[in-house]
Symmetry: C2
Subunit: 287 residues, 2 copies
């Protein structure tokens, strides 16, 4: 009798524990989906923000490129070429940054964003299976009660019902488990793939930037800023002004032109051309 009572008590506890552990299990599954929703959602929005900030950095660097081009135009040949090369290289790095931004969007942010829908669908699955499970557990409790009241003629029917309800509950919990295990497996695989893609995209950009900047560094090193200071050829506009003036003041002696030209650091070739023009006009006037 003591053994039967203990066994019966054990059976009762078993039902309670079944229910308890299933609750724990369902809670744990809900937690898995909730964590995925929370953390992957936040990581997604941070990576989207990171991508936007990268795009803003590219915009600023693009403005710098435009400014360097403008600046280069005001400088003499050697420095002009140096600054133009620098601007072109900076622009190339920004093209790579643009590729980085696009890749981050398509290969990192979009798949993470898609998780929002996956999580929603898993949450719906979880809810459905949980409802099924609760219904079946209630059924199980009902037939268990009938079986405990133990009327001889209903014993076998109750046991069949109990078995059926238990099987249904078992099936529901298995479906729940499979859904969550699939979700978890997919989630872990996706996390691995997404972060590997993130690292690949970043590495690609850093490698390309490093490649371009190595060349830029060498170009800057070879830029001879003193060369422009040694010879300062006359800009075309000043050359035209001077020619026009010399045509007007065409009886100026060549020596004075040379002295004046030396003072304003015009190149010897343009001074010679100016003098020739001046000379020809003077000759034309005299004869």
């Amino acid at each position: 009798m003591q053994i039967t009572e203990q066994w019966s008590c054990g059976e009762d506890n078993r039902t309670n524990m079944n229910s308890f552990f299933r609750d724990v299990q369902v809670k744990s599954m809900e937690q898995t989906v909730k964590h995925a929703e929370k953390y992957l959602g936040e990581i997604c929005s941070l990576l989207a923000s990171y991508t936007r900030k990268t795009a803003k950095l590219r915009d600023k660097a693009d403005l710098l490129v435009a400014q360097l081009f403008d600046f280069s135009r005001t400088e003499d040949p050697e420095v002009q070429i140096g600054l133009r090369n620098l601007a072109e290289d900076l622009a190339m790095v920004q093209d790579y940054r643009q590729a980085q931004v696009e890749r981050l969007e398509t290969r990192v942010v979009s798949p993470l964003k898609a998780y929002g829908d996956v999580v929603k669908s898993k949450r719906a699955d979880l809810k459905k299976f949980n409802t099924d499970l609760n219904r079946e557990l209630k059924e199980l409790q009902k037939v268990e009660k009938i079986r405990l009241r133990n009327p001889a003629d209903r014993q076998s029917i109750a046991e069949v019902n109990a078995q059926k309800a238990s099987n249904n509950a078992q099936r529901s919990i298995r479906q729940l488990e499979e859904t969550i295990t699939d979700f978890q497996r997919q989630k872990l695989e996706d996390i691995k793939r997404i972060f590997t893609d993130f690292i690949t995209v970043e590495m690609l950009f850093h490698a390309k930037a490093l490649e371009v900047y190595t060349r830029t560094y060498d170009n800057l090193e070879t830029m001879n800023t003193q060369k422009d200071l040694e010879v300062q050829p006359m800009p075309m506009i000043q050359f035209l002004h001077m020619t026009a003036l010399l045509l007007y003041l065409s009886n100026v002696h060549v020596v004075h032109i040379v002295i004046l030209a030396k003072e304003v650091m015009f190149s010897p070739v343009s001074v010679f051309v100016c003098w020739l023009v001046g000379l020809s006009v003077r000759l034309h006037k005299n004869y």
Copy 2:
């Protein structure tokens, strides 16, 4: 007479041209300083903005690091370690980005900002020399007029004055030239140095980021996400709950515990510990 007239006309033109070319020269010098002020000022503010945007990118990545650490805590050992390594590597890249930001500020933005004062001082120098030059050229014109009026007794005095005024003007224009040439030389050297520093700082960051991410990539590749799905050991909190429950329901048969434990995928060790605790309490109750 014709020759004298031509010469005198030439002398007159020479004074005009001297004045004209000096104006052109002064204008050209003013242009040099103006361009330096305009372009270097704009490049400075763009590089400062680029540095700030880099700092913002670092801030976003720092938030991502924190989120990855939080997320890792909700995952099982293998993925937890993988995510923690990823977060640590990302944090390291942000440290390098911080160094990049600091270096850009001290080695690129600050020297460019200092140019504001250099340009101001050069502009003041230019103004002073230009004022001196104008005063001396007026003096020169005055003595030239006296000389042209040609009164015999004042001839020599006028010529001495003319020579003196001409020398002063010459000295002023030389000072102006030297100031601007120095400024231009310094400017070009500084531009070369600043942009070389900019490229060096960028290269350093890209190289370090590439180094760190190469390791991160390998770590991610070796992360076995399936391992966590195969064995799901019970978290400590669930283990404590289960122990407490088993102490309460201590007459549950070991077979049921094993079945239930299997259902909720607890690790065999924790199930065994739970059962031992339960058994000892049951024995204590019975005797």
